[in-house]
């Protein structure tokens, strides 16, 4: 489907590297604690949390069931407000529309707010190819732009970096602006980034943002941020372009309020993000500021296909990041290991749909099915079940790992034949017990390196339960 080139095939090797990368482990350890603890207290403070989740889900389900109607209504409202709507069915088309709009505006410098869909369609590369200077204005995005890395989290793109690494990065890159002192404290680093960015805000020709919601009732696009950078991106330049997936539309402002309550608490544990900005059309005669042109690019890129199958649940996703913050695999390996734009549980569901399962076969499998993601997902998306659907598809098209496939078939063959099964496990239990008799465990076992590489294998007691039970031998 295009967008940035996937590196998900490399998942296993990358996981190994990141698990042994002390910077990544330090950064993820801190992030995990912060996100999980803050969300828990924020949710505990809302006694009707479960009802709120159900209401949010209901709003999204209703909208998705009438998606074309709400999108058309949204489009009509944007037009009424003096804005423009563009439809893109693929990533390429979306990029082309944005680049053409920039060219038509005679743009050279483009400021950008954080937008995952922009990452998904590969907009950064498209802007660069068109010779446009892109300035990321979200602090996290700015950091990874300097580092020339993709985001590793959907709301905290630079979560994989330690403060020390950021200090180094700023020290190296900000010298050109005469800022030669290496800052080490958070506030000083933020102030320094602000100083560099201020100039760029004032001289940008086009501002590009994503959207957390598209409100059909009013034709507004909504973004939530904590830095206010979004406001400057969508009000200062002459042209404001919004890139948004078609699933972002919801019916009314009231609905927006409901889902906003879920979003901030799930994402950062805040009651509300610091800035919630509604953009409704370009600047009107009576407005003090605002762009003179406003464009909304509505992107499908595979979404309408999901509407009709088991993956429609995923279209409820509000990109809060809770699933990854609570995923023990994500927090162990970091976002870059996933090898594409979307990471963590939601990424492991979405990525195979967007880039193909052939290139991302590890993602749905690298999960213990512990269910913590689904438990915290504000939109009640059954993430583990959706991962299992991917596994079923892989199995059906024989794309699962051949060795695992063989072992499982052998196990199933046995398990279906209780008499044979009994003989085999009685024997196996006794053999393993003999091997591990003295210490009660085995340090090594042929063909079991995946286990014994890092842990001992507790030895069986000897006689199987079933055999002892049938013989009437109960311990006393």
């Amino acid at each position: 489907m295009s967008g940035p080139a996937p590196r998900s095939r490399d998942f296993e090797r990358r996981a190994y590297v990141e698990i042994h990368n002390p910077n990544l482990q330090e950064a993820m350890g801190l992030a995990k604690q912060g996100f999980v603890g803050k969300r828990a207290s924020a949710v505990a403070a809302v006694p009707e949390w479960e009802q709120l989740r159900a209401a949010g889900r209901e709003i999204k389900e209703h909208t998705l069931a009438h998606l074309d109607w709400y999108l058309e209504r949204f489009e009509a409202k944007v037009r009424e407000n003096g804005g423009h709507v563009h439809w893109a069915s693929t990533a390429e088309e979306a990029c082309r529309i944005v680049v053409d709009l920039c060219r038509a505006a005679g743009a050279r410098r483009v400021t950008k707010g954080k937008s995952m869909v922009a990452e998904e369609i590969g907009l950064n590369e498209a802007l660069a190819d068109a010779g446009l200077e892109r300035v990321e204005t979200d602090l996290g995005e700015y950091i990874i732009q300097l580092a020339d890395e993709p985001p590793s989290h959907i709301i905290a793109p630079a979560v994989h970096k330690t403060k020390d690494q950021v200090s180094d990065l700023f020290h190296r890159h900000h010298r050109q602006y005469g800022l030669t002192e290496r800052q080490t404290e958070g506030p000083a680093l933020v102030a320094e980034a602000r100083e560099v960015l201020r100039e760029k805000f004032l001289t940008a020709d086009v501002g590009i943002t994503g959207a957390n919601f598209l409100v059909a009732e009013t034709g507004s696009t909504v973004i939530v941020t904590n830095e206010g950078n979004g406001d400057l991106t969508n009000t200062l330049p002459r042209v404001h372009i919004v890139t948004a997936g078609i699933e972002k539309v919801i019916p009314t402002l009231d609905d927006t309020a409901t889902i906003l309550r879920l979003l901030a608490r799930s994402a950062t544990g805040q009651e509300m993000s610091v800035y919630t900005t509604f953009s409704t059309g370009p600047r009107r005669a009576s407005d003090l500021d605002g762009p003179s042109e406003m464009h909304v690019v509505l992107i499908d890129n595979g979404r309408s296909q999901m509407l009709g199958n088991e993956f429609h649940h995923m279209l409820r996703c509000i990109r809060c990041g809770a699933c990854m913050n609570h995923c023990p695999v994500y927090t162990a390996v970091g976002g870059h290991t996933y090898g594409w734009v979307y990471v963590g549980p939601m990424g492991s569901v979405l990525t195979p749909l967007m880039i193909g399962i052939e290139d991302s076969g590890h993602l749905p499998n690298a999960c213990t099915m512990n269910g913590r993601c689904a438990e915290v997902c504000p939109m009640q998306i059954p993430l583990p079940d959706l991962l299992r659907v991917h596994r079923e598809r892989q199995h059906a098209s024989r794309l699962d790992a051949p060795r695992a496939r063989m072992m499982l078939r052998a196990w199933a063959f046995l398990a279906r034949r209780p008499a044979l099964y009994r003989r085999v496990v009685d024997l196996g239990a006794r053999a393993l017990a003999m091997l591990g008799r003295r210490r009660g465990r085995l340090r090594w076992l042929p063909l079991a390196g995946g286990w014994t590489g890092s842990r001992d294998l507790p030895a069986p007691q000897g006689e199987t339960f079933t055999r002892a039970w049938r013989a009437g031998r109960r311990p006393r």
């Binding site: 996981a15 213990t368 099915m369 199933a412 496990v425 286990w451 507790p458 199987t464």
Partner: protein, 266 residues
């Protein structure tokens, strides 16, 4: 097994319970199976162990092989028809029977009905004792501080959390110290632990470190898969923390060496 405590709670009726042994308990730790039998009998149940049970089919199911999972599910459903209850000492296997069997037969009305009938009657052991049989105390003694790991399927699919703690609180000599991140996966995940050993190792190492930091002398849990994983890692790290299934402690059946220890090392 020392003394035979009186059943506590509403045990006037004597339900017929089919014990779902689970393949791991059958092979690795029969003591858990016998502990389950004792606890169930003490709670007034008549316990039977149907012959035809092997594996619940979860490994196949979670590997995307729904067809094989269905075959094994049918086998279990047939073997356990006619019992008042079906009980197993594993949240993971019982979650499979309870939550996933009905889904496996979504498009097969006849088997779906049978799967639903099984789902309605099947329970994880500790929650069954507490919630269905009303057991509030056991007569057992265990002189150690323990910590408790909440295995994921039991916790999230079956709501097993308060029940083991409530029952353990009645064990004489036992003190519970809560485990940091007790509800975070230990990295077992069935075939996951051998398919992604590096990630699994990282997860179980975090878990083992929490266990060690808790200062408890014993780690308990309700799922043998997770316990094998954690015991194996604790031993490899050289930790002396003992590992038992909660049922073994509740049944007073800790006269066998802990999981992962032999006669020589316990």
């Amino acid at each position: 097994m020392s003394d035979s405590p009186q059943p506590v709670g509403p045990a006037s009726d004597r339900p017929r319970v089919g014990l779902f042994v689970t393949c791991l308990v059958d092979v690795f730790r029969p003591n858990i199976g016998f502990a389950a039998v004792k606890l169930l009998e003490d709670a007034g149940c008549r316990v039977e162990v149907p012959d035809l049970q092997t594996c619940c089919g979860q490994p196949a199911y979670n590997s995307g092989d729904a067809a094989d999972a269905r075959v094994l599910a049918r086998q279990v459903i047939e073997a356990f028809e006619g019992f008042d209850y079906v009980v197993g000492a594993s949240g993971s296997c019982m979650g499979m029977l309870h939550t996933h069997y009905p889904r496996l037969f979504e498009n097969d009305a006849r088997w779906r009905a049978r799967a639903n009938a099984l789902a309605d009657r099947c329970h994880e052991l500790l929650s069954f004792l507490h919630d269905v049989r009303g057991v509030r105390e056991v007569r057992a003694r265990y002189d150690s501080t323990v910590t408790y790991h909440d295995s994921c399927s039991g916790l999230r699919e079956l709501g097993v959390q308060r029940q083991p703690r409530a029952l353990l609180a009645s064990v004489e000599g036992l003190g519970l110290r809560e485990l940091e991140d007790s509800n975070v996966c230990c990295g077992f995940g069935g075939t996951f632990c051998v398919k992604y050993p590096a990630i699994s190792e990282k997860m179980v190492t975090d878990k083992a470190n929490h266990v060690i930091r808790s200062g408890a002398g014993t780690l308990l849990g309700g799922d043998l898969g997770c316990l094998l994983n954690m015991a194996g890692r604790l031993r490899r790290m050289g930790s002396p923390v003992r590992v038992y299934h909660a049922a073994e402690v509740l049944a007073g059946m800790t006269d066998v060496p802990p999981i992962g220890d032999g006669e020589a090392s316990s």
